[in-house]
Symmetry: C2
Subunit: 139 residues, 2 copies
C-alpha cells in the first residue's frame, strides 16, 4: 500500500490505521499462511447494503517477499468459495487500477469480467492519471 | 429510502441511523430550501482515498412532496459547481439503479455518462434483480 500504485488508500496511513481499515466491523478478514508465516491477507464484505447486499467485495494483499508464488490466486479462490458458502451471488471489485496488469489478468483468469472503466480515476505515482476498472463475476 | 427502490441502503434504517449515514465525517451535507422549508438534501465526499481522492461522489434525496419541481436537478447543479470549486476533477455515482430511469435521464442530461453496468447488482422490491450503473462526468 505504501507504494501507492494499486490501492486507493492514503499511502501515508499508519500501521494501526491500515489494520483498522482492513479489519473494520463490516469486514471478515483472513490471513494466508505458508510454513507458519503470514504471506497475505484478504477481507470480504458486502459491497452495498440493502438491495445490494447479495454482492460481496474483497481486497487482497500479498507480502512483498511472497510475490510470484500464487498467494493472491489462492486467496481469491478461497474467497470465491467462502463467499458462495455465505450465500453471496456475485463478487465485485470496485477499483482495479488499470496499470496493475498482473492483478487484472489474474482476476480475468479467475472468471472476472471488466464491467466498467472509470476514466482517469487513479493518480498513479509514476503514470499520473490512469483508468480504473470495475470487475465482476457471479458465484 | 424506505421504499427501497433507489438506494442500496437498508430500508429499515431508523431516522437517526439514516441521518448518521448522510452526515458522516467523510461527507459534506447540504439542504435545499424552498420558501423556508427543506425540500431535499445531498452529500458530497471523496469517492476514494489516496490516489482516487480527486473524484467525488454525491447522493441526493428529494422530499416526496417536492418531486417533479427540479429539486434534484438544482442540487446536482449546485454540487457540480461546488465540487469544481473544491478542486475535484470528476464526479462519480457508484450505484444508479437501472430501473430508476428518471434519475438516469437526469444525470445524462447533466453530462454524466454510463461507464459501467453491474449485472443484477440490486434486488428491487418490485422487479427482483436489476442492473446498476456506474455514472461519471469530468468537472
Amino acid at each position: 500500500m505504501r507504494e501507492g500504485g494499486t490501492y486507493a488508500i492514503d499511502p501515508a496511513l499508519r500501521a494501526d490505521e491500515a489494520l483498522g481499515y482492513w479489519t473494520s466491523a463490516d469486514k471478515e478478514s483472513f490471513v494466508a499462511e505458508d510454513e507458519g508465516g503470514i504471506v497475505g491477507t484478504y477481507y470480504l464484505r458486502p459491497n452495498q447494503a440493502g438491495g445490494g447486499r447479495h454482492v460481496c467485495n474483497c481486497g487482497y494483499v500479498t507480502r512483498a517477499e511472497a510475490r510470484g508464488r500464487g498467494v493472491a490466486r489462492a486467496m481469491c479462490e478461497h474467497s470465491l468459495a467462502y463467499a458462495a458458502s455465505r450465500g453471496y451471488r456475485a463478487m465485485q471489485f470496485n477499483f482495479v487500477v488499470s496499470t496493475n496488469t498482473h492483478a487484472v489478468r489474474l482476476w480475468q483468469a479467475l472468471g472476472f469480467e471488466i464491467v466498467g472503466r472509470i476514466p482517469e480515476a487513479f493518480c498513479h505515482p509514476e503514470h499520473a492519471y490512469v483508468d480504473a476498472f470495475v470487475m465482476h463475476r457471479f458465484l
